[in-house]
Subunit: 138 residues, 3 copies
């Protein structure tokens, strides 16, 4: 069994941002030399998520609107967590997006469907954050 | 370490359908000859989900109603993604259902609790879709 | 490849409870002797979830309020599942919390960010329930 670990770092310009990181995960899988296995892509911060969905600008805007509707940022004082902080909504939004993904590796590549793209979703940005990529297989 | 990969194909009759696929996952795990490990069950399409919950008709109807309430199909024009498409809600519903599962394999079987059942949830059906089942272990 | 399996048991005093189980998962990973790999932490009951988020009292109260808003317990008769039962909301709440996590193991430890804590979330407590912890690696 082989394994490999990588830490991706992000610092996004806005409070909320959605970055397609498929190529970076794919590149690390290739570099690992693992042909069959699993890869975990997990944000190490609890106000961010990694998810798989479409890389389509309209959908990303819909996701952002929808998260705001189900877990609104305002009123900031409506959350008990927001004492000296204003990111309670980010902790909830990341739960709605299920926060992490595990992907199959087959024949040395991410075994994704035609439209599956891996995203880093930032809900409390403008500071450095890390995502761990852990590959296991043979 | 051993590994095995299977692709399940579904073409459901309605826009939304919920299929119990536990037996199919279990059968593939048995066939793989892997006794201890993990299995990823991941829809390869981004308008579907795999989840674990109860195989009880009332609950499935409750889940369907609830998804419609939190991520409604109508009005179709309310989503920016829906330009020449009408499935934006399906992309959101699959996020609410957390879209994929990883299951433990112990002594050659899925290590599930008494009521855990694995479901394929279709949110934009009436066409062929695939689910990848990736088994790793010894 | 090595593997190890543990079953944690919980019986919480209220219908809904949130327990930090990071130390218990960490202890089992250490005991397994696995240095690099993955660990699945999965509730074996479908009215509970395992999730990763902040161990902060205000946030836990916010999460509980928010789950009640998006998947309310009352009216009990509003759910078709609730025939001789009253826990339909628990089945939905656990979906919102994405129900399970997979964690990376690096150098014999859980590879978590500074605030990542693993929680057992009970949505239909006051009875014994189990969580399977499955470790795979080398």
């Amino acid at each position: 069994m082989k394994h490999a670990t990588e830490y991706l770092t992000f610092e996004t310009p806005h409070r909320r941002d959605y970055l397609n990181i498929t190529d970076r995960v794919e590149a690390f899988v290739r570099q690992s030399g693992i042909h069959h296995g699993l890869v975990l892509v997990n944000p190490m911060h609890i106000t961010a998520a990694v998810y798989v969905n479409d890389d389509e600008r309209g959908l990303i805007a819909d996701i952002d609107d929808w998260l705001e509707r189900l877990a609104p940022h305002e009123p900031v004082s409506g959350y008990r967590h927001n004492v000296g902080e204003d990111n309670a909504d980010a902790h909830l939004k990341r739960q709605l997006m299920a926060h992490q993904v595990v992907l199959a590796i087959t024949d040395g590549k991410l075994d994704l469907g035609p439209w599956e793209q891996v995203f880093y979703a930032e809900f409390d940005g403008r500071r450095k954050k890390r995502v761990v990529v852990k590959v296991m297989g043979i």
